[in-house]
Subunit: 340 residues, 2 copies
DNA sequence: ATTGACATCCAAAACGTTTTGGTTTATACT
DNA sequence: AGTATAAACCAAAACGTTTTGGATGTCAAT
């Protein structure tokens, strides 16, 4: 079927070795021979077999990305943009990207990470949505397996990561609302256990405290990162007394849910109640009203994470193995005008 | 580093062959020996090297998916859900999923498909967003390479596909608006060249014609599938006379853009102007107002596409190589009450 | 004692590449 | 003439697995 080195060697009447080395451009092959080899390779449409090369080189040329997904009907714009980022960067360096989906902390996820470290499955992994006491990262560190995380963790391992400073982002967001005059602010936090959720929560709590604003119990509720979740929790929040003048969400998807539920109740977002999100997914620039949020350059983060991983795989230690990006506040209409 | 068959053989004092066959459970290995083999394999943590196995079996165990993406900042909920569908199904059959992103009809895309057919890169491909005279499909057919498409094409090749009946879906959508009393309906079509866009456009045109409704020039505009595009084209549409009472978009993302731009202009969607979309991405159930649209079971489509591909790779011809699913109309508030 | 059947094992080849450690031939230097 | 030196080539091993086609030994039937 496919043309192999053996075929070329037979056609040319020389050894497989010489063909291989000729194609690779080694200088122990006469220039003229090299030309002949490359010519016939071209003519016969020779393409090296990747599997054979991998076996010999003991490298797969593949990067792995295991998406932590909830449920089957799953749709998070974060992932398509992130995949585009790592995928393009990987392609630039002649790596392929293997994608696998598993619910967080599931058996399937554990098995897949296990597979990565014990079999020659991929050359390196990209880990996202880091968790508290993240078993994935512990495993990878113990096996000394090449990986880069998007996010930090709270255990003692030292590993390369790219992260955005969620705490700083959240501080900026909260301060913006406080500066607008809001005193009664509710927060829908990301699910506990996720590191970035922890930072965002801390950013919220600290900023409120710094401004001398109490946060009674019930004013922080835990969401599930989905639009539906945001919408449902809005009901709880509307029942609080006094009614919050602003609702912040731990991510944009939940903020969208909040906005829509508020609108269903007849509130005008940005006037009656202000709303803020986090992530700046492309969607929220064009909602009604456009959402005030914290911009995270997801594509760029994907790109840099991937870049760092490839450095590690190739034995170059990255110049800076702990990248912390500062996200920026994007003020749009959903936060409204100064009040009271 | 990793434990190999050779290590096991040495440890057990038997041949590599017997170890291999013992692990595979062949009955020309004594039951007692099998147990000993499996025991030590377990004990030493043996895991077969995937690359070596692939080389021998002449199969990669990998499925390829090349996402047609526009621009770097790319985020389409369609893809995350679709990937989840094919990824999970692939995992169920012990296949991995390789994902690669390239702008449609780009050099990179061509090279990647070329690579798939000439080198042992993946065992099969999943093709989405089929185009008119689709060069990818022509290539794959000519090389007899295993693939399944989500979508049909207009050339003469016979190939396996899963598709939803966009034309029927669009007919249902348009008829719904006509039944509500709308006579002046504008349509933002998907970009020309995409097959599903063609079907959706045809569904629109035919249904209007069937109902004796003229569609003056300017009432069909070509969009780019993005929210931003939908928003911008809304301006053009609002300038039409008479002003449309309904605006339909070729996909949900554009419909969202339309809704938001209309709201910016002070219109109440579903009362002043009705809006309809297509796809039923998870997002639009929770917008304000919720969007009337055509439901496409993307996860399920991904699952079935993948399933069919695996059948083909394994030499089983699929029971039905041309699956056409009928999408369903989902009526929500954005289409409003009957008018006039 | 020979034959056949069966159970159990294994050496070698194969998959397609790259690398190692040469050999051969021609040329230049003493 | 003999000896380095360099240029050009190649056989064999290696990567780790599976498959092919026996080989060996045991036992029962003839």
């Amino acid at each position: 079927m496919a043309v192999t080195l053996k075929d070329l060697a037979r056609e040319l009447g020389i050894s497989i070795t010489t063909v291989s080395r000729g194609l690779a451009g080694y200088d122990d092959v006469a220039e003229e021979t090299q030309l002949r080899i490359k010519d016939t390779a071209e003519r016969l449409g020779y393409q090296p077999n990747l599997t054979a090369r991998r076996l010999q080189k003991q490298q797969t040329g593949i990067l792995g990305f295991i998406m932590p997904t909830f449920g089957p009907r799953f749709s998070d714009p974060f992932f398509s943009e992130f995949i585009a980022g790592i995928g393009n960067e990987a392609a630039n360096h002649d790596f392929d990207l293997l994608v696998s989906t598993h619910p967080p902390d599931s058996d399937g996820e554990r098995k897949t990470y296990q597979r990565a470290v014990t079999r020659a499955w991929v050359d390196g992994l990209i880990v996202v949505r880091t968790r508290e006491e993240d078993a994935r990262i512990q495993l990878l560190c113990q096996h000394n397996f090449p990986f880069v995380a998007f996010g930090r963790t709270d255990d003692e391992y030292d590993f390369p990561f790219v992260d955005e400073d969620s705490e700083a982002g959240m501080r900026a967001l909260v301060q913006h609302f406080i500066d607008l005059g809001h005193r009664h602010i509710a927060f829908i936090s990301p699910p506990s256990g996720l590191m970035f959720g922890r930072y965002r929560l801390k950013g919220f709590q600290d900023t409120m405290a710094d401004n001398g604003l109490p946060v009674p119990s019930g004013w922080i509720v835990e969401g599930d990162m989905t639009q539906r979740g945001g919408a449902e929790l809005t009901e709880q929040i509307l029942a609080l007394t006094p009614r919050p003048t602003a609702i912040l969400a731990g991510n944009d998807l939940m903020a969208l849910g909040v906005m829509n539920r508020l609108q269903q109740h007849g509130f005008t977002v940005g006037e009656d109640i202000a709303v803020g999100g986090f992530d700046d997914i492309p969607l929220v620039e064009h909602t009604h009203p456009p959402l005030t949020t914290i911009h995270q350059p997801i594509y760029e983060i994907g790109r840099r994470t991937c870049d760092m991983l490839i450095d590690i795989i190739n034995g170059r230690s990255p110049t800076n193995p702990h990248v912390l990006l500062t996200p920026t506040l994007v003020v749009r209409a959903s936060s409204g005008q100064p009040i009271a």
